[in-house]
């Protein structure tokens, strides 16, 4: 043992050992979450939606930012989770926690099954396949209207109090705390995955697939695991939205949702674990403010903003702040 630490430079081993220690800055989003509860008591319903969507964007970050799979169909799993929790609650089982587990299971299975089929392809074909999977599920939900309510949406959800104690209130207090707790747990899981050797190998696949093949990494297998975990997390996020809003519509499976969550993540920054915490609140608060003035033209401005980000601000808010930080440190 002593020999090993003699050979390696002292700083390197330390860095690896402390790589996944919690840093102080990582507490910021959580402090903001707690502060928002007290500062904006009138906006807790929106807050709960934001927290649930952060989880959705986080799940996308795992496949897009770490495994490098570009998908336009992530709403497939979000919607599957939403429908799973919604159908359970509409048919006499409104217990929320088990509802979340059921949603994670069903969405994870959907991710595993579709991933096993489509992850053999790459590039445009893969992009297409993700789109087609989402379109297929949307068509199923549309046509199986006896179970899902079809185009009218799923009616009559009855969600029970959490632990039999905390009712979902009109102001969204319970919903907010509930979503925050679930997000915290899921974030810890994603964080652990990303910093594990498995997470490292995902990054390797994103950066250089050929080399990962060459060093004998089971690439497709790893991608599939990441895809399945991500699908399950997206399912939990969908279930959160379904339980807190007590309604599921066809929109949860739509291309629009896959597109907007991608945009939210890009605004924040991809592959950095915290992009979702920045991009989603920015997008959703702006949309909420904007829709009071001018609801129809929101899409125009967000589209324009998106083009601007791609052309001039790659890496989103996190990338931009990092560049400013570096530029300021250089002269000294």
């Amino acid at each position: 043992m002593a020999a090993v630490s003699d050979i390696a430079a002292p700083g390197v081993l330390d860095r690896f050992a402390h790589r996944h220690r919690f840093r102080l800055a990582e507490a910021l989003p959580w402090l903001a979450t707690i502060a928002a509860y007290f500062v904006f008591p009138d906006y807790l319903s929106l807050g709960a939606q934001i927290l649930a969507t952060v989880l959705f964007a986080l799940s996308l970050d795992l496949v897009l930012g770490y495994a490098g799979i570009i998908t336009l169909g992530h709403a497939a799993f979000f919607g599957t989770g939403a429908y799973a929790a919604g159908i359970l609650a509409a048919n006499g089982w409104g217990e929320p926690i088990t509802g979340l587990f059921a949603a994670a299971l069903v969405a994870g299975l959907a991710g595993l099954a579709s991933g096993a089929v489509i992850l053999r392809t790459t590039g445009l074909t893969l992009l297409m396949q993700t789109l087609v999977v989402a379109a297929m599920l949307s068509e199923v939900a549309n046509k199986a209207s006896r179970i899902t309510g079809g185009a009218d949406g799923l009616q009559g959800m009855d969600v029970w109090p959490i632990f039999g104690q905390f009712r979902f209130d009109l102001f969204g207090r319970t919903a907010y705390v509930y979503c925050a707790m679930v997000l915290l747990l899921c974030w810890l899981v994603v964080r652990a995955i990303v910093h594990s050797s498995f997470g490292r190998s995902l990054t390797g696949i994103r950066e250089n697939v050929l080399r990962m093949h060459a060093v004998g990494s089971p690439v497709t297998h790893r991608k599939l695991i990441a895809y399945t975990i991500s699908a399950a997390l997206a399912g939990i996020s969908g279930a959160l939205i379904a339980q807190t809003s007590q309604f599921v519509g066809l929109g949860v499976l739509g291309l629009e949702r896959s597109g907007t969550v991608l945009i939210m993540l890009i605004i924040g920054g991809v592959g950095q674990l915290y992009g979702a915490f920045i991009g989603v609140p920015l997008y959703m608060i702006a949309q909420d403010r904007f829709s009071e003035i001018d609801p129809v033209y929101w899409y125009f401005w967000i589209g324009l903003f998106m083009i601007f980000v791609v052309m001039f601000a790659r890496g989103g808010v996190l990338g931009l702040s990092e560049r400013i930080w570096r530029a300021r440190r250089k002269p000294s």
Partner: protein
Amino acid sequence: MDDFLSAAISIAFHGVALAMVLYLISVGLSVTMGLMGFVNLAHGAFAMAGGYALTTLMSRWQLPFALALVGAVVIVMLASLVLERLLYRRLYGGGELDQVLMTMGLVFMTVGAATYFWGPVAQPVQPPASISGQIHLGSRDFPTYRSFLILCGVVLVSGLWLALERTRFGAQVRAAVDNLRMAQAIGINTTRLFALTFALGSGLAALGGALGAEFFPIVPGYALGNLVYFLIVVAVGGLGSIRGPFVAALLVGIADTAFKYKAPELGAFFIYALTMAILLWRPRGLFGHA
């Protein structure tokens, strides 16, 4: 037996009409993706622009149908040249994700802009009386407009094939699809080639969008709602070919019509399943380069 034959003829007729529209819209997308390796999700927006330009020219400027059609195609081609110069060109050879995001941004902009100018209701396209109504053929009636669509499609497809196989421009496009760097090395001006091809593809899409309003109504969500259809044709047909999308469009058009006619309760489900199966069997599409 007679019923079956009648249904088969009807499905084939309407399916081929749909296929022509699908082909016109998608062929440009296939060539752009094959030639420049550009994932252009905003291609449907050019088709939508064609539809809006046609209705506006006809209703506000009182132009006759044929003239308005030509006008719409020219307007969209010019607009696409500007966009190519300002936005697309900067991302050639860039990351797939950047291309997806930029074109997705364009799509969202068209949704907002179209709502602003034309409102959320579908714009009606009124073809002139000479190509409306029915044609009697034997003991059967065929809608004149759809026959006109098929005729248009056949003429354009033949023209496109001839242009690609027989002209200097076509040879340059084929060379660049096969090997871009070699084409540049022997002195083909690929920058100009890209711009021209892009404008041509957008113009064809505009034509398809304007003619196919019967199948794909001109609404603000056009580019987003029909994206899956156009991409299916391209992916199944294979990138960079103009024959592939033709076969794929026929396949999708006829299969879609047949399933919607025979099993409407399943909707578009079969088309998606078929697409997945074909892409698994041949990931680069039916006519893609190996």
